[in-house]
């Protein structure tokens, strides 16, 4: 298969962070190879400090490889990709904006919305409200983000990542700071959104059950410098329900991955 057919292709990439002192720097990832197809849900797991976040920055054009190449839709990434929405462990909402205005923030940056923002304000506001309703936050748009609970803020942060209908959704441990029940609820939220809208998703996580529940394919990364050790396809039919978490074949996949991670930590 030619690499150019994949939506995202990362080819033999290494990235070295150069500190200001001028010494060698740290090699964050090395010989990194990864393909993601359009509409696919991919999870990346690995020991902490393995360069998972670096992978996110490479795929969104925030960092460029020291060697190798990153391609999206066949084109070499030379700058911020502009097709990505991002959500992090910390929801980072702007406290001086109401939740709806926080969600509309990306539209104030990307074209063509940026141009139309002023004239179509009403329409965009409606879009934000609909999106909020789809993650179970009806009417929260008129509240300030700090009036919402952690789980609600994280839902709002997902809305902000999706408002400009990105082709690519990047999730960097978005549920890590939530309690177990809220986390499982949000797994279902993201599962349903992805099924409905079909965006390509890369989820960086250290929760193996989360990875197996959500992803079509899972990549296990090695300790620093990070590269892909194992690629595991999760052939569980969709839509997936939370009951799966207690099925033997589900638990087996989790155990298998845990084994790989233990290996990677050595």
């Amino acid at each position: 298969m030619s690499s150019d057919q994949s939506f995202i292709s990362i080819n033999d990439v290494s990235l070295r962070y150069k500190p200001q002192g001028g010494d060698e720097g740290t090699l964050a990832v090395d010989e990194l190879n990864l393909r993601v197809e359009k509409g696919e849900f991919v999870a990346v797991v690995g020991p902490s400090g393995c360069g998972k976040s670096t992978l996110m920055k490479l795929a969104t054009g925030l960092h460029f490889p020291t060697t190798g190449s990153v391609r999206i839709d066949g084109d070499e990434v030379k700058g911020p990709v502009k097709i990505a929405g991002m959500a992090f462990q910390n929801p980072v909402m702007l406290p001086w904006r109401k939740t709806a205005d926080n969600i509309l923030l990306p539209l104030e940056i990307v074209q063509p919305h940026r141009r139309q923002m002023r004239s179509n304000k009403e329409q965009y506001r409606k879009l934000a409200d609909e999106l909020l309703a789809s993650v179970g936050l009806e009417g929260a748009g008129s509240q300030y983000p700090w009036q919402l609970s952690g789980g609600m803020q994280q839902r709002a942060s997902l809305c902000r990542a999706l408002i400009h209908e990105p082709e690519l959704l990047m999730l960097d441990e978005p549920f890590a700071a939530l309690d177990a029940f809220t986390r499982e609820e949000l797994w279902c939220v993201i599962r349903d959104l992805q099924a409905e809208k079909g965006f390509t998703t890369i989820l960086v996580t250290h929760d193996l059950r989360e990875a197996v529940f959500l992803a079509d394919r899972i990549f296990v990364m090695s300790a620093r410098p990070g590269r892909i050790l194992v690629e595991r396809t999760v052939d569980i039919d969709r839509p997936r329900e939370l009951d799966l978490l207690y099925e033997k074949f589900f638990v087996d996949i989790v155990h298998e991955l845990r084994g790989h991670i233990a290996e990677a930590r050595k």
Partner: protein, 254 residues
């Protein structure tokens, strides 16, 4: 009727201070030219009312003029410094150095350049008060969450977008907080300059009264200074609450 002690506390303490003062001076028999009683100060205030008002206005406007320049300049320099790490690294030591110079040592130079009068007072007020504004604005910009920056940069946001959407609103609480400090410093600056080289203003009036041994009038000037200082501080504190109420959502200080 129940008494709200928190609201009453400032009045009780202020009145209490003057009562204790009055009693102490009378009981200990302290001479008026050492420490006058509050009543003597009050009488001096009434006697020299129009001169006090005139000089207070002089001090007020030189302070506000210096403070105004400091706000414009401080905001500009703060944004400039916060814009870029290299600019920050280059200018910060210079600013700390400049700020370390006691401004009382600068006034003679200002007098040399501009003569005595209101110009040194305005300039001293400006020089002493811009530093906290610069530092606070620059700090607000420097503490933008990296995740927020990533979200916007990945969408192709320019540095200016990040500044206007995130950086500047974010640094506003720091900015308004710094105004409270800056106005107090500006006040110190203008009075300092007036006591050294001026023919008007509360600082000058105090010096003249002291030379004439009008000790109650010296204290009346001090109290006028205190009232002016409290007034300006209160306006800045109100402005801060008004403009950046979102940043004061914690109930911690209530």
């Amino acid at each position: 009727m129940r008494i709200d002690w928190v609201k009453a506390a400032p009045w009780i303490c202020t009145i209490g201070l003057f009562v204790v003062w009055e009693l102490a001076v009378r009981l200990l028999g302290i001479a008026e030219f050492i420490l006058p009683t509050p009543t003597a100060i009050f009488l001096a205030t009434v006697e020299f009312w129009s001169a006090l008002v005139n000089n207070s206005f002089q001090t007020l406007w030189t302070t506000l003029a210096g403070f105004g320049i400091a706000v414009v300049f401080g905001l500009g320099l703060g944004l400039f410094i916060g814009w870029n790490k290299t600019i920050y690294a280059g200018l910060y030591p210079l600013m700390v150095g400049f700020n370390s110079i006691p401004k009382v040592a600068v006034v003679p130079i200002l007098v040399l350049w501009f003569g005595t009068g209101w110009i040194p007072a305005v300039l001293t007020a400006f020089l002493i008060s811009f530093f906290p504004i610069v530092v606070n604005v620059a700090t607000g910009l420097a503490t933008i969450e990296p995740e927020m920056e990533d979200v916007l940069r990945a969408l192709g946001a320019k540095k200016l977008d990040i500044m206007t959407k995130v950086g500047i609103p974010r640094s506003l609480p720091y900015f308004f907080g710094s105004l409270k400090v800056a106005i107090t410093l500006a006040f110190i600056g203008s009075v300092l300059s007036e006591t050294i080289a001026a023919n008007k203003g509360l600082g000058h009036m105090m010096l003249t009264a002291q030379a004439n041994f009008e000790v109650p009038l010296v204290f009346a000037c001090l109290i006028a200074l205190a009232i002016e200082g409290i007034g300006m501080y209160a306006i800045m504190a109100w402005l801060e609450m008004r403009m950046t109420g979102w940043a004061h959502r914690s109930g911690f200080a209530r």
